[in-house]
Symmetry: C2
Subunit: 723 residues, 2 copies
């Protein structure tokens, strides 16, 4: 039911304009239509019970979304199913970590699950799948040696090696954080991962606000997650092709993605039982968590009470299984350019009840579609097609989005304007975290200026002003723009960027950055409940509404503007920054090795000039542009991103095809493949022993120069030069 | 100067229509503007001196074409240069084949070049590069063993193996024909190739019509050519990326394309000197050429006069060299949809004076552009952009077109409507040989109906009627359509098809098919002269004009029709035929092995239905179609072909990305990768030893089913289903 205020607004607008409101008025209408109470109700329904990918409840929730979209008045809503390899714990044989004494008796065993809590409204915690590491092989591993490996990053293993601490044939224990879960085993026989209070409690008020008393994690909370070693292939058995029912599937043994050693996650209460027994040298400061014990490397463990024969036992019972997953696709067909798609996506599957990850986003999306359905009843239809996708199996490795892109990526390359992702919409309410392909940054900032901040604060009264204040790109500059990152590895926008080259946004309301929790303390634990949102995160759902307004606002601009709000000069800025980072960090080495950066510098400059010339040309077209002329400019704006796609992919990661926005193996601030190649160089680039690696550098330099020049070429006036 | 008749025609049309003529009238005007005498003059100029890729004369001819296009009034004409690896004979050390006696004295040496002939008009034969095998390594190889390997196809080597005749560590001699030049050496130490009279004289009138007395080959004529083992990579040192000046180049030793053993070509006079000495068993009938000797396998050779110590010596002095090649790109910018390109291409570089290969085509192209330039002066401009490309380095391995597509393929994917290739325009004047991607077959037939046949013949008075009569697709059916083949490996359309998925046509006037000359007798010899055309092929250049009319006619349709003349149902027909061939030939095996063809059958059926539904939808739009609606249909027509492109390529040939129209390793009439996989199976598909190959079959079946379904998906009404 519409409020009186909104009815009045609508009537006024209709009356004042003599009928159907104009574009900006539709934006205002949609924004005013967003209703926090409805979002709250959606979330309550979505989080009633678990809805894991590949389960009957998962399929049921897909059908709920589909039916909701039809009821709301979308033109269509279909299921797009795929048969993918999923992973579940064996329901009859729980996995656990144990300490076993010399008589083979267990003196300690980790908890089988997270205990229920008594909250209002109640939460069906015991129905949540027990904590497990998805795709872990099953097995029992025992060792008298346990090595603490900090986060288990490459740099952590390097440090251990330097200290002479081996992990081979030993069980290792790592804390969650800082890196993706799937990683090389490096000769260890088993992996225990735990949530350290450093990451899930902190040193502030978290210590007294552990769920159910607050937002932070109790020692019984355990983070679930998948442990695939993914580099963009999609679900493990059908790399490069969609997992349709008829698809050929490789053998599991042929897949490089599946972990080779058993893995199990635990909470910090259980972790303490292991860590307090560890011996060996003390770890450096940066390796220390917040448990009340001295963190040591191991490998020996045991205290006077335990004999040297004490073993760690890791008993994992996890099975892979092929199952059908269900993406849901809802469509509002554009009335002028139906073959141009603006896509809003959010995944629906959850490890738990999903009240934060991901269904805070799902609830926002369902409110957007409800509002748009209302607009449609009043005569509105977007210029371009709006497509809404509820992904499945994101938690298992972004399978729903990858398989869908494997199936429809060619069509998306030709028709998709942009993809706007919201995974977790609201995990806290401090500020906005935004990722964007560079060309959509200005659009996002403009949209944020139109969204009111729903609480009084000295930081401003729009989302933009608060965001800018709280998350500056440059914390030393009071006039700084807000921080917008480049796309990372984290969610369903990845195949849009790296396989196809579609511009993307990824949006979320988050906590303060200075507190370095990976994700948020209760991430993927059973305690992500409706109660958590209602009691501690967004009691009035005003920030959910803010997210709906922002998400709908950017989508609306993309769907309605005659000329697409894609900013090519912003892209050139990012490319220049990547070039300058490379030159600043490695310019001397290039010079010493007598490798010229001229071609790259030239390509970057050409791209900047081409972007400027394009924008000038665009600004000179009048208001009475012929539809074909507008279409031509729009096609160029759309296709520019595609120019960065290399069908051959980056070295060793052939499904990461975006030559600017893929993740390299190493972390650099330059072009990924070139960055990897310079990182692999030793310090003396003239050393003949490095000749082969130096040639890799030269090769990658040549390749990225070509792709940047290609992007410049797409912006030239068609048929005005040699293409 | 326009003839009085044409002036009258133009004035009448302009007067009758009150100004600028309508589309069909432009077609007629252009056709009537084509002038044989002008084509003849162009050819005379083009063939004055050699113009080999990478030479100053080659560059000069590029500049001539560029300037001609500017003078003719095209909007622009640019050079698109690349630095590629070419190959030339050492000018100071001729290559040869010799017989060497036991004293190491040469008792025979092959000719250093083809002798000049006295013809009118004179031809600069001695300036033509001596016969050589491009990219052959240099070296001297000697052997007392010489093995005749017929054409040197896989089946020929298989037969030798079955007969117990080894080629390892021996020199082999093969006749030109039936297969591409680049091939595996199979352990031989050297390769001599020769033109056998079977292929270049025949048993008919050829025996008395050897050049300069006719069209057939004298024993002194030698065929040049490249011997790269190409599978679509482009020039050898930059696979996947364009050979720009700054490009990274691999080492020659890293390239799989370069032949490993020395190769040299000779004529049949010289070949006789070797073949008449060969001993061993007689070859089967199908291996016999027409030289007056008994064809034997070898490996021994020598007659009573020669001692057993006689050796064959192969002395090759050929160098690779990086050189700049020059494509020329001329543009007439479309006035309604300038971002849609109709591309006419012909290569310009020649091994010799080029009067047949390729400059008969170049002359036709220059007449087309001249005629279009005249039309532009009278107010005409095409709806879509017409692009004319004069390729370089085709003879060295299609380098000009491959590098250009490596550079601009992404833009072509988005904007190119079709590519129409003419390599050799007129090699004889019996009938048309046409290759086409299936969707352009109807367009070609319609265009051929509008081209008059320039001589009286009972076979008809249009190109179409004569062509249909002389080259039926089904020789047993008097009502058969003319034969139009699928695209093969042969010329500059290859990267358009296999890298990008742009529809193509390839056109040529040829001799009767029943005479199985590879190409034509004087192909790539120094005797391809202007005199050859003028005296024996097309004395009045009427068939050159026919080719210009046809070429311009199809280009014009593509550039002007509001809805593109791309026929998707024709494509479905071809796909069905490929499926049925597979089912007919291998259906039993699939059944025995319990592999269902349902998914493929289903995809093929869906594609047929989708094409029919698309065409029905198209036929229902009225004449007053909005430009955006027309554009939408046209985009779908264009993009359908792209759906068949797999970025991963077909197995072992990753740059052959078209899953329907690439060449497999084997010759089949079905989808290439699936065809290869079934050809590799032994007869018993249930044999456990074949399990791995059977899985390849299943994998390829799955993949092609997906791509055919993808093509169907591109034809669905946008935003009407799950994409």
């Amino acid at each position: 039911m519409m409020s009186a205020g909104r009815t009045l607004l609508l009537l006024t607008l209709c009356g004042a304009l003599g009928g159907v409101p104009a574009q900006q008025d539709w934006t205002d209408l949609i924004a005013s239509e967003m209703n926090p109470a409805r979002i709250e109700e959606f979330l309550r329904i979505l989080t009633e019970k678990p809805h894991l990918a590949g389960t009957p409840d998962g399929a049921e929730l897909a059908e709920f979304v589909r039916q909701t979209w039809l009821d709301q008045g979308l033109d269509s809503a279909h299921i797009a199913p795929y048969d993918v390899l999923l992973s579940y714990p064996d329901p009859d044989k729980p996995s656990y970590v144990a300490l076993v004494d010399e008589n083979n008796d267990e003196v300690f065993r980790s908890s089988a699950g997270e205990p229920p809590v008594d909250v209002d409204p109640p939460a069906n915690i015991s129905s949540v799948v027990p904590p497990f590491a998805a795709y872990s092989p099953s097995g029992v591993v025992e060792s008298t040696r346990l090595v603490y490996v900090n986060y288990g990053r490459t740099s952590d293993f390097d440090l251990l090696k330097a200290r002479g601490v081996s992990v081979r044939r030993r069980i290792v224990i790592a804390r969650y954080g800082k890196t993706s879960r799937g990683r090389k085993d490096r000769g260890a026989t088993g992996l225990i991962v735990f949530s350290d209070p450093r990451e899930v409690v902190g040193t502030g008020r978290g210590r007294t606000r552990k769920y159910p008393a607050g937002w932070y994690a109790p020692g019984t909370a355990v983070q679930r997650g998948h442990f695939l070693y993914t580099t963009g292939e999609g679900e493990p058995l059908t790399p490069g092709y969609p997992a349709k029912d008829y698809a050929y599937r490789m053998e599991k043994s042929e897949s490089d993605q599946l972990p080779k050693i058993p893995v199990h996650p635990i909470g910090y209460t259980d972790a303490m039982e292991l860590l307090r027994l560890m011996r060996g040298y003390e770890v450096p400061d940066s390796w220390r968590g917040l448990l009340d014990t001295t963190y040591r490397y191991g490998p020996r463990f045991g205290r006077p009470k335990l004999s040297p024969a004490t073993k760690v036992r890791l008993n994992v019972n996890v099975r892979t299984e092929q199952a059908t997953i269900h993406n849901v696709v809802g469509i509002i067909r554009g009335d002028v350019e139906p073959d141009r798609y603006v896509i809003l996506g959010n995944h629906r599957d959850a490890w738990n009840l999903g009240a934060v990850d991901p269904n805070s986003g799902t609830a926002c999306l369902l409110e957007i579609t409800r509002a748009l359905g209302e607009m449609m009843k009043r005569g509105w239809r977007p210029r371009r097609t709006l497509m809404f996708i509820s992904w499945d199996a994101e938690e298992h490795g972004m399978h729903g989005s990858h398989e869908w892109i494997e199936e429809f990526g060619k069509i998306m390359s030709d028709r998709a304007v942009a993809y706007i992702n919201v995974d977790i919409a609201v995990r806290e309410t401090y500020t906005l975290r935004a990722r964007a392909t560079p060309s959509l940054r200005p659009l996002l900032k403009e949209a944020a200026k139109k969204v009111p901040w729903p609480e009084p604060t000295p930081d401003g009264n729009t989302l933009y002003s608060v965001w800018r204040q709280r998350s500056p790109a440059d914390s030393e500059d009071p006039d700084s723009d807000p921080k917008i990152s480049l796309p990372a590895s984290a969610s369903d926008f990845v195949p849009f960027v790296r396989r196809v080259g579609v511009p993307i946004l990824d949006l979320a309301m988050v906590h303060r950055y200075t507190i370095t929790y990976p994700n948020f303390p209760l991430y993927h634990t059973a305690y992500e409940t409706f109660h958590l949102q209602k009691a501690y995160i967004d009691p009035e759902f005003k920030f959910h509404r803010l997210m709906s307004q922002l998400w709908a606002g950017v989508a609306f601009s993309l769907a309605e503007a005659e000329i697409l709000p894609i900013d090519v000069s912003e892209y050139a800025t990012t490319v220049r920054e990547m070039f300058h980072w490379l030159k600043d960090e490695y310019g001397d080495q290039f010079e010493t090795a007598q490798i010229s950066l001229d071609a790259l510098e030239s390509a970057v400059a050409n791209f900047t000039l081409a972007a400027a010339a394009f924008e000038e040309s665009l600004s000179s077209i009048g208001n009475e542009t012929s539809p074909i002329v507008a279409r031509m400019y729009n096609d160029q704006l759309m296709q520019m991103e595609r120019a960065f796609i290399d069908p051959l992919g980056i070295p060793g990661r052939k499904f990461y095809r975006h030559t600017v926005l893929s993740n390299g193996l190493y972390s650099t601030d330059t072009f990924p493949a070139l960055g990897d190649s310079v990182k692999r160089m030793g310090s003396d680039w003239t050393d003949p022993g490095q000749a082969s690696k130096l040639r890799d550098v030269m090769e990658q330099l040549s390749i990225i120069s070509f792709f940047i020049q290609s992007a410049a070429n797409t912006l030239a006036t068609p048929a005005s030069t040699v293409f």
